[in-house]
């Protein structure tokens, strides 16, 4: 049996993954890098690849990176609240309890906000 390739790493920074890039969809345009007010994302040295989340601990979850992404609705980038920020709710008619991040989530509610996702004058 081949030896496991195990390395020394410090503990991961918490929260772990404030944003999740979908490498299949993201084209590495770095719009999110330029919009992040905390400057936590660094351009990937490999062109066309998703940015590196260098400072996940400095994320303040404003979602500006997602809003600035031309492909966000195709899933290129998703905001990911840490586990201790995942709220709960109860369906009024059934009394069933839910939470963000649950294993068998209810169907997504695809109703856009008033005026759409990109409301302008």
């Amino acid at each position: 049996m081949a030896k496991e390739d195990v390395r020394m790493f410090p503990n991961m920074v918490t929260p772990n993954d404030p944003v999740i890039f979908n490498e299949e969809v993201c084209n590495g345009c770095n719009n999110c890098v330029e919009h992040c007010v905390m400057d936590i994302l660094m351009p990937n040295p490999e062109k066309g690849e998703p940015p590196i989340i260098l400072y996940p601990d400095e994320c303040w979850y404003d979602g500006v990176c997602v809003k600035s992404c031309p492909l966000w609705q195709k899933g290129a980038i998703t905001l990911n609240h840490p586990m201790n920020q995942r709220v709960r709710w109860k369906r009024k008619a059934t009394g069933k309890h839910y939470r963000i991040g649950m294993p068998n989530p209810p169907k997504p509610n695809n109703k856009p906000p008033v005026g759409g996702w990109d409301a302008k004058a």
Binding site: M8, P10, V13, T14, P15, P18, E34, H35, C36, V37, M38, D39, M42, P43, P45, I52, Y55, P56, D57, E58, C59, W60, Y61, D62, G63, V64, V66, K67, S68, W72, L79, H81, P82, N84, Q85, V87, R88, W89, K90, R91, K92, A93, Y98, I100, M102, P105, P106, K107, P108, N109, N110, K111, P113, V114, G115, W117, D118, A119, K120, A121
Partner: protein, 660 residues
């Protein structure tokens, strides 16, 4: 050897680094801080045809305390549907806090807020229900198609689509030729002859990407940075930096710059942590009935509704009544008026026993009248499904989506996880009793202390103007827009008549030496540990109850930390360098706040200020602003009448530059 030293092949910094390389920028009006107030200041100045430079630590396209969005546009009392005048509204704002408010900023905003709203519409922000989704709604003015919040009778607060507000402002700045310097941390103000208290003639900065140095020269400057965050609470470990109600970038750099330059400040003794606390939830993302969620029905675990009452305690029978003034009342203030002033008190939900922190009405300052409490079974939920359809849609579909830090974090995330406002009850959570420095609150509508200004919004220093959350006791978004625009035009006028600035080389060199010290050192403390250590001093020596001895000890520890840990702080790249420099400002602001606390030798309920060595509450001789400033390194205190703004109508007419 620690791990970081052991790793030799860490990826290279993605930007070319040139510590110390100097860039000189010359302009007429220099705007420091590119949030809401800063962008409006730049726009106001640029429209006057002067050369404007705008400097921001983050990215102007999205940065600032109001950068993430806005759902309520306050103080639009001059809109055609409004029932109140700017004078009446300003008086109410002042009265509701027994005068403890910035009268100049309140009146400028009451006069100019609606004009700003019309202007931002031209820049591309949606402000009307042009699609007629809310046709016939109680909160809609059919003529203008404006939607209103809170008081549907008086109509002074507009509901807007502000998620992309910064994009609109950023675009307009660029269209007007404003030179924007993003990712540049403003490290100091430059003054004539390099002297504290002299005319401000520019600023220095350092790039958080390249480490390059900037010398900005401006005939006039506007500081428009927010009041300090990360001052009492700091931990990235629990939920990143998201506990701050405003961008955690806002480390009160403007306050620190102003204090070091010799600006006179007021009200800093009322400073409090702000934010939602490290154990809170996403802002506006839990069931409640206040501000953005106003006036959502709250139910208990058994579906029992928590009753609402009017200012006199009469039970309200319909949802509609929660948006109307009481019998015999012309209008109410949003949030009921912070001081609980009966004249402006609005409808409120009765507080639930054991959850006194839950409702704004129950938060009560000392001396506020006792409120009736109701029994309820935990947990509580926001019952959007029971709300009238248009109210439900406007709360969740417009306000929650557009508030700021909500479109993606709340609206998108929750709906994709299956949350449906037509069907689901969103749970609320209690905070319980805890020391004030750990509570949520602060921030919000009334900013903390800061520079005082005259009616031109010029600070006590020649050539230095202030706007937005930078000014003492100013309000939030609309206040930032109105005072920013006003300060920008006043600064442009000043610049037109001012001489060209000449920087003092010694001052620049001293600043360069200070700024780059952390990248030249090794094995010192890094910024996060330093920030947390500084916060501990604030918690222990500037907490709920102050006294001379405790404050003096706090100042002693700060002095020690400055000479000790801070003087050994290290940075491995320009990003870390700026974070270290921010913490230096947090130390400076801690000293400034403690000096402000020492200067007020009396307890005061309006300021939430308690001194154990001066326990008498609100003694008449202390019903005044206490000011502090540095003069040749020494702290000087002074005082100012609460109503130093004078006759607001007359003064506005004399200074605003408006022709009408």
């Amino acid at each position: 050897m620690n791990y970081e030293d052991f790793i030799k092949n860490a990826p290279r910094w993605p930007y070319p680094v040139n510590y110390g390389k100097e860039n000189e920028v010359n302009c007429d009006v220099l705007v420091l801080g590119g949030g809401i107030a800063g962008c409006w200041a730049a726009i106001g100045a640029a429209r006057k045809g002067v050369k404007v430079a705008l400097v921001d630590k983050g990215a102007t396209v999205s940065s600032g305390a109001g950068g993430a969005g806005v759902d309520h546009w306050h103080c639009v009392v001059t809109n055609p549907a409004s029932k109140i005048s700017p004078e009446e509204f300003t008086q109410a704002l002042l009265d509701s806090r027994s005068g403890w408010r910035n009268g100049i900023a309140a009146y400028i905003t009451s006069q100019d807020s609606y004009d700003c709203l019309l202007e931002i519409e031209k820049m591309g922000m949606k402000i009307r229900d042009s699609d007629d989704e809310f046709k016939g709604a109680e909160f809609r003015d059919e003529k203008t198609k404006l939607l209103f919040a809170y008081d549907y009778t008086a109509k002074y607060c507009a509901r807007v689509w502000g998620s992309y507000v910064k994009e609109a402002l950023h675009k307009e700045c660029r269209r007007l030729g404003v030179k924007i310097y993003d990712h540049v941390f403003v490290s100091s103000l430059l003054s004539a002859g390099g002297k504290q208290g002299a005319r401000v003639i520019g600023a220095t900065g350092v790039s958080s990407r390249t480490g390059e140095f900037y010398v900005f020269k401006g005939k006039a400057s506007v500081i428009s940075m927010y009041f300090p965050q990360r001052q009492w609470i700091f931990s990235t470990e629990i939920r990143g930096l998201t506990y701050s109600h405003r961008t955690p970038n806002l480390t009160g750099d403007g306050h620190s710059l102003a204090w070091k330059a010799g600006v006179t400040l007021a009200g800093v003794e009322s400073s409090s942590p702000g934010g939602a606390g490290p154990y809170g939830y996403p802002q506006y993302g839990t069931g409640n009935a206040n501000n953005t969620w106003y006036a959502c029905t709250i139910v208990d675990a058994n579906g029992k509704e928590i009753p609402w009452v009017d200012r006199d305690g009469n039970i309200l029978k319909s949802v509609s009544e929660r948006y109307r003034p009481a019998a015999g009342q012309k209008f109410f203030l949003s949030g009921g008026g912070e001081g609980g002033d009966h004249r402006y008190q609005g409808p409120r939900m009765l507080p639930v026993k054991g959850m006194a922190e839950f409702g704004g009405a129950a938060r009560g300052r000392p001396g506020a009248p006792e409120v009736k409490m109701v029994e309820a079974e935990m947990p509580l939920y926001a019952d959007l499904p029971s709300m009238p359809a248009q109210e439900r849609r406007v709360i969740f579909g417009l306000m929650i989506a557009q508030e700021g830090k909500t479109l993606i974090p709340i609206y998108r995330t929750y709906t994709q996880a299956g949350f449906d406002p037509d069907k689901d009850l969103l749970q609320g959570y209690t905070m319980g009793a805890m020391p004030k420095w750990r509570q949520s609150g602060g921030g919000g509508v009334i900013a903390g202390g800061g520079p005082i200004t005259d009616w031109n919004l010029m600070t006590s220093l020649d050539g230095l103007f202030a706007a937005g959350g930078q000014i003492f006791f100013n309000g939030d978004h609309a206040y930032a827009a109105a005072t920013g625009r006003y300060a920008g035009t006043r600064a442009a006028d000043y610049a037109a008549a001012a001489s060209a600035p000449a920087t003092n080389r010694k001052q620049v060199e001293a600043e360069k030496a200070r700024v780059y010290a952390p990248v030249k050192r090794k094995n010192g403390v890094e910024w996060k540990e330093l920030n947390a250590g500084v916060c501990k001093v604030m918690q222990d020596y500037c907490g709920d109850v102050k006294s001379e001895e405790v404050l003096k000890l706090g100042l002693k520890w700060f002095e020690e930390i400055e000479a000790g840990e801070a003087a050994s702080a290290t940075a491995r790249n320009p990003h870390e360098l700026v974070r270290v420099l921010e913490v230096f400002n947090i130390i400076t602001n801690g000293q400034m706040i403690m000096e402000g606390c020492r200067a007020r030798k009396a307890s005061n309920t309006a300021l939430g200020f308690i001194r154990s060595d001066y326990p008498e509450v609100n003694p008449p001789e202390w019903q005044k602003w206490v000011t502090i400033k540095q003069d040749q390194g020494k702290v000087k205190t002074g005082e100012l009448a609460l109503d130093y703004h004078g006759d607001v109508k007359k003064n506005y007419k004399a200074h605003s530059g408006k022709r009408s």
